[in-house]
Symmetry: C2
Subunit: 383 residues, 2 copies
């Protein structure tokens, strides 16, 4: 979180790491605490129970649709530059969850291959192969392919046409107020993302409907821009303001605020080699004390511990076992070394099972992308 | 021509009218006088002989290709919001001329239907019908459809992907230096036009080649931006800086600098009703004197006369007859009333013949657009 020139605090969707003051998000940006909606969820989820989802916008609209069986869409995207890590996995799990709440939900998954080219120099053919793996990942996590449109940014002309339309009503001042003083290209890509988020509401896809966008909270500026555009173009397109649900950023193993592929020892991917998993986790930042004696006496600090975060947010579904770990840590019975080894076992096991499932999904992933290409290329009409 | 905030003179590609100081264009913008290349043209044309084409950039590269039989492209575009007028006709004639110079020339014609929606509220289905007429117009003017790719902006994803790539290297300052302080949407559309201009050099279309862009001189800012981008992305795409040839802006019948559809009594379209042609021309601004007596004594001023401009630049191929008209005017033998009536006859005759040809081209135009859609939808790969 940083201040832009006019002193307005901004979240930085393009930043690598930043210290997010979650309390300020509610007061200053109007993000709603998730607790308000906790009893409206038709099902529960680890990410909800453990507080990884902490904020949202207009979530009631989507939960109502889920409970009444009326149509809604689940939208998010990924830049296909590498395998899933815990951050992209968290978004994917949210998509699968919201798709699973109702048979009337349809997923829209944008593969940002144009971004992957611009930012990382990956040719479309290269990022396509990576995307096949990413799609197999989300299929392994439970995505129902029958109700999913997976498209590549380089092919979905409707998104670009929406971005062109939107470009006429934004001003540099407006973009600066949301994003701070950024490069022209980032403003351009923000409009493309607004196009992605509003795509499910075009006539081609059945017209206006509630849309839930599960993202890391650093992406909220895109949500605010898009909601603003939805209001501006309501008369023209009938848009309903998209809803969002935010997950806390996943800390890297080295303790920085946002897991990123650019920090190799901090990132944990879903195809990590078991040996490397153990090495990375054994080097992870913990909430342990300086000495064993001190740890026995004072107990650990799980709320400052990345290892505990990974149990809680990612690798342990069993609530009771989690509480046991927590109390053992606080009580000084659990030392960091054994705790790390136990997590590493869980992670290695998770990755092994995940990759078995993923391997069986590769053909389906390829087909889903092909089907997406076919739909994307049907035309550019947005009206 | 106006001054932007930093005092740099700018041409305004989006303006309706402006007084262009053609001399300054050579000195300050580096546009080359066309005379330098006059003896390199393998064929002549009314627009060249009469000085309507007055400036260019890197024209030698294209004329060399035309004479040697090596491949080059001819690129321009139109916003499909109405029928051809004399301005769009002038661009189309240039495209037909440059295509005709060599069997190795291929035309790229961009139908800016996204712009037509953003600026004029025309739905794609509406602008499509207008585009059919526009394409029939250029076919009637002699375009060879076998060597022409006519595509709609709303469908040619490669153009948008190029624009996305280019967006990463332009800055607000750079755009301001070229265009002045303009709305975000105009900067956005400028990048799309750069994508249009560089499209013919993509691998899909056979890779780097000379490209000639015939446009009104007010479009030069787009050419400068695109040449800059071609240099920046030379290593990545192999781009050759596009060449351009500029025609003077067509005065409206009421005397304003740039003919525009927005000035109904000033515009002369190619499907004007004969009665309206006669009425508009009889009201046109001339270089005539205050009284008949004065006109007889001093002669007229053809170089200040829109009626003479239309003979010279648009409706009279016969050089001798043009010179006769000029000397009769200068000598006071020719009065404005008869001169206007004579022009009106020529125009009515031209329009009648043109529309006969155009009517026979409508099916072909429709097919050419369909074929363009097919090619546009083949993919978004720019690499």
């Amino acid at each position: 979180m940083s201040d832009n020139r006019s002193g307005v605090p901004v979240l930085d969707p393009w930043g690598e790491s930043s210290v997010v003051d979650y309390g300020r998000l509610f007061e200053e940006f109007g993000i709603e605490p998730i607790e308000r909606f906790a009893d409206k969820f038709p099902a529960t989820h680890r990410l909800l129970r453990r507080g990884v989802w902490f904020g949202c916008r207009d979530l009631g609209r989507v939960l109502d649709a889920a409970r009444s069986g009326s149509i809604y869409a689940v939208m998010s995207g990924i830049k296909p530059t590498g395998v899933y890590h815990l951050g992209t996995k968290t978004t994917a799990e949210a998509m699968v969850f919201f798709q699973g709440l109702s048979k009337a939900a349809r997923v829209f998954y944008s593969i940002a291959d144009v971004e992957a080219y611009c930012d990382n120099g990956l040719k479309f053919s290269e990022s396509h192969e990576i995307a096949v793996g990413n799609v197999a990942d989300i299929l392994a996590l439970g995505l129902d392919p029958e109700r999913a449109y997976v498209y590549k940014q380089s092919e979905e002309m409707r998104v670009m046409n929406l971005a062109s339309v939107f470009s006429r009503s934004v001003t540099n001042n407006m973009m600066r107020a949301i994003y701070g003083d950024r490069a022209f290209g980032l403003y351009f890509s923000a409009l493309v993302q607004a196009g992605d988020i509003l795509l499910p509401q075009l006539g081609f896809f059945g017209g206006p409907k509630p849309v839930i966008v599960p993202v890391g909270v650093d992406q909220d500026p895109h949500i605010r821009l898009t909601r603003d555009l939805a209001r501006r173009y309501r008369d023209e397109f009938g848009f309903i303001e998209p809803s969002s649900i935010y997950h806390k950023l996943v800390h890297s193993l080295t303790g920085s605020e946002k897991m990123s592929k650019r920090d190799p020892m901090g990132v944990l991917t879903l195809n990590e080699d078991p040996k490397l998993v153990r090495r990375k986790i054994s080097n992870a930042l913990t909430g342990g004390r300086a000495t064993v004696e001190e740890q026995r006496r004072l107990g650990g600090e799980p709320d400052k511990c990345v290892v505990y975060e990974y149990y809680r947010d990612h690798f342990l579904e069993d609530d009771e076992r989690l509480l046991r770990i927590r109390s053992e840590c606080l009580g000084g019975q659990r030392l960091c070394g054994e705790c790390k080894a136990e997590l590493a076992d869980l992670v290695v096991d998770y990755i092994e099972k995940h990759n078995e499932k993923k391997a069986s999904m590769m053909d389906l992933a390829r087909n889903l992308l092909e089907e997406g290409s076919r739909i994307a290329k049907q035309g550019g009409s947005i009206l």
